[in-house]
Symmetry: C2
Subunit: 162 residues, 2 copies
């Protein structure tokens, strides 16, 4: 969770690719690490450390430490969608930013450069360099907004969370 800002991203899409990065960084490939990488590669979206740990029957502390290590080495990034736990994902699909619906918990991932115009606008107006990868744009998706933001609908289209 406490990874210093801006780490050189390592885009990997295969286990071998990830292992190669580990090796090149002098990190070991423990069985725990291998399992985690496989799980992250197979994951649909960002997942919580807790979910990874329980699915793979691993110790939560180790999973947290590993995710932090992977993040420090640019293989993984985590995002805070609403109030829940941090959610981790490989950088397999390149860098992403998120729109998070506070109503239904759905997260929409978009390539970083897609929000560049928005970012530029904020920079021009406020001299502020916005990033939506670690903390997303939060609000209501069209469906929830239409529903008046009253019906939560947490049951449907649930969060990508863990």
């Amino acid at each position: 969770m406490t990874v210093s800002h801006r780490v050189e991203p390592q885009i990997v899409t295969t286990l071998d690719g990830a292992i190669a990065v580990l090796r090149s960084r002098g990190l070991r490939l423990s069985s725990t690490r291998r399992l985690m990488l496989e799980a992250l590669l197979a994951a649909e979206g960002p997942v919580s450390a807790e979910r990874v740990a329980s699915r793979l029957n691993l110790d939560a502390a180790s999973v947290h430490r590993n995710l932090e290590t992977l993040e420090r080495h640019g293989l993984v990034r985590h995002v805070h969608l609403g109030h829940g736990p941090g959610l981790y994902a490989l950088l397999a699909g390149g860098e992403r930013e998120y729109l998070y619906c506070d109503g239904c918990g759905a997260a929409r991932a978009v390539p970083t450069k897609e929000l560049d115009p928005l970012r530029r606008r904020i920079r021009e107006r406020y001299g502020f360099e916005a990033r939506f990868d670690h903390f997303p744009i939060v609000g209501l998706c069209s469906a929830c907004a239409a529903a008046g933001g009253e019906e939560r609908g947490r049951e449907l289209a649930g969060p990508a969370a863990g």
Copy 2:
């Protein structure tokens, strides 16, 4: 912390104003409540429940409950600036949205309507209704961005946090 979305805002700038709202809602004015309202009126920016509790020598649970009550009745709003605790403020100055610098922890508050063009743009592009009052726009202020986002400088210009 768990206040259902969109409560009719109650803009009050004086203790009497706040008390009037309480009364009209059938809420009591306990000494704890009075102290909290005074503290919130005197506060420069959003403050954490913990800070309120320790400053006033009150029980943290009570402070949390009270802040939630006040928020449920539209007198107070809370915002999540980065990783820390939720920060609470009266709606005295009207509704606000925030830009939070992940580098130095500084929060810039702007009137809600100032970000309406941005919001419109996001709505047009994504059919998404963004709000930056509960979860702010996060990134780097110009100073921190210029510093390469490396020097944290948490010591200076510290967070409005508690």
